[in-house]
Point group: C2
Chain length 434, copies 2
Amino acid sequence: MTARPTTRSLAPLNEWTALEIAAAVRAGTVTCEAIARACLDRIAEREPRVLAWEYLDPEQVLAQARALDRGGHRGPLAGVPFGVKDIIDTCDMPTAYGSPIYAGHRPRRDAACVALGRKAGGVVMGKTVTTEFAVNYPGKTRHPQDPARTPGGSSSGSAAAVADCMVPLALGTQTTGSTIKPGSFCGVFAYRPTFGAIRCSGVMESAASCDTVTLYGRTVEDIALHRDVLVGTEPAPVAGLSEPPRIGFCRVPQWPRLAPYTQRLLEDAAARLARAGARLQDAALPEDFSEAEETHRQISCREFALNFTREIEHHWNELSEDLRNGKIRIGLECTDKRYRAAQALAARCRLGVEALFGDFDVLLAPAAVGEAPVGTGTGDSTLASPWSLMHVPTMNVPVFKGPNGLPVGAQVIAGHGQDRKLFAAARWIHSALA
Amino acid sequence: MTARPTTRSLAPLNEWTALEIAAAVRAGTVTCEAIARACLDRIAEREPRVLAWEYLDPEQVLAQARALDRGGHRGPLAGVPFGVKDIIDTCDMPTAYGSPIYAGHRPRRDAACVALGRKAGGVVMGKTVTTEFAVNYPGKTRHPQDPARTPGGSSSGSAAAVADCMVPLALGTQTTGSTIKPGSFCGVFAYRPTFGAIRCSGVMESAASCDTVTLYGRTVEDIALHRDVLVGTEPAPVAGLSEPPRIGFCRVPQWPRLAPYTQRLLEDAAARLARAGARLQDAALPEDFSEAEETHRQISCREFALNFTREIEHHWNELSEDLRNGKIRIGLECTDKRYRAAQALAARCRLGVEALFGDFDVLLAPAAVGEAPVGTGTGDSTLASPWSLMHVPTMNVPVFKGPNGLPVGAQVIAGHGQDRKLFAAARWIHSALA
């Protein structure tokens, strides 16, 4: 909480980091309203092309900002606008879960992660576009750098809004690859915390065994700040590393699916990190890990299909064909016996992955197969889903450009509960590859 | 699913088991409407004294029953009325979470456990009384056998309604002792499944690390049936044991808090079970287990306090003094560091408890300190909370009478995922002690 406005504060207000905004608001050098207006102006300019927002009312945003200015709010997120994925409940804005079934639905309560952000002085900018029930069927959002391409999903609007400097922070969720993949496609830091570390109360349950609230930002420090607010602890700066990290390089079982240029970018990055002083070695993933992708699929689809019993029974024709014939079909076909075997495999595999963190501070792995693809699909999530099942904290670090000049990320993974070590290592890796 | 109407079907319809009702409805020997009317008549007679229901609309119940009769429903719960604790969302009945803040609140969706019950042919009888936000501050419900006494809480209405033959089944929840304790006080079977086995979607989140949907019934078989429906598997009969169970007798750290008669009842039961052929030995609980009660308190209070940020910020004066000065204060005082240490202890302790199930099929432990106390408090939950933290399946087996002729239960506990073994052993123990 010692950040001071830097030279970056000469940048347009909508490009300021959350740390810069909160420090300037507390110092009285900028108003919450000025920040909110700058973000609203950016959205007014860019939204017709990016389509990141499911719900946004500028007057409501300005009213929040003015109330904070009047109250002299000095919280850790004072005046910081944040986007909220539209599967996360808000008491004063609709929450439609990406489905026509719930168009206009008004929840009674704020999700815990929204209430904690407001309590810290944050401004809810609006609801960001999600895929249908946070699964595959895409919303309207387009990639900020190329409208022919997807921003990824399911946290499509949150990733695009942060990447496009509409807001400094946004809330997403990840059950499969819904945060790491859009982070890689859009070129922002994207953080999935240790499973269970951030409360999910008020967040649509997809598959509780893997659901997590996630965070987007344009710096590691902003994500760390937002995390501390949501965990309910005093914000602390991201620590520096006393020495370069021990990095385990993961040629994951999905490696052959990567675009050749993604393989080369990662191999090259590993070499550069080693030259920068990292003790980098290939990590031997546990044997079970090759089954983690399918194991995740069985568990998450079965839980989803049970959770959506009401919609399956009463709203079948309002569900997309993609959802009916994908997640729901797989989930209904998965027996309880198979589900329990999958849970047992996941528990075993977690122990095997955890053992790696005796030798390594973090693992380095692909975040996506390559650049954001052209078209309406949201891309391949299977670089992220095994780690979602492992319950370990992971982060997309935006470090590469693909052949079309579009972002490709590297995924950095730490041991269970080692989220702050993840932040330190991700920052080191980002600097070393910059 | 082979149950036939037995001699018990000569009993009044409101006393029938769920298995008897569903079999008779499928056989066409009774209508759903007749069952619903019998339960409604019982409620009309007894509700002024027991006060188990937060919301009940007889016409709405009869409409559900008639629709099932018209449709010829043949599901595993065909025509079975069930109560729903009022922290579990229903799309056609209000859900007030036991708090004046949410009086009249109408959720948009059914919780998964409600939707699955309806899909199986069940009739939602109404919403049962819960304590405030499923914590301590009591609702209006009184003990069915003695209105001067509490039925226990937080699942007060569900336990009382099943005990008083108003419904054969009811949904509850347990984060601390909210199901096992009222089950012991009211003298019904009460089942807390393996953590994570029944989906919590649409259930108010108290503390996700321990929250579970729970079931009440007047027979083990009815609970097994309801569980199979909610787990999404084909109902299967409760298996018999090929030999008497290996039982580990637990003089838990809370043993000195038990009423002397409860200690004697349990000691005597152990001796009788051994005479009936059980291989019964004292179980050596892991050392960490003595900290499980306090560890559970820290984890559950901290998660609750974060989850209820909005209510703390905006509805402070509508929260009970008990809640503000109890769970919320403890939760806000618990640091992230302490919380994480508590989670680490819980994980260690789970491994120690799991190891016991190499030697034992089930553990036998106290369910409550004694009979339901006189007054408005809901009694001591600390016989249940350590097991809630352990994530193992447990059941209250109603086997004893205290000095006032009121029920006292025994708690039977199985290993993680061994819910069907729990059912078999609980039935054996119940028979042996009957």
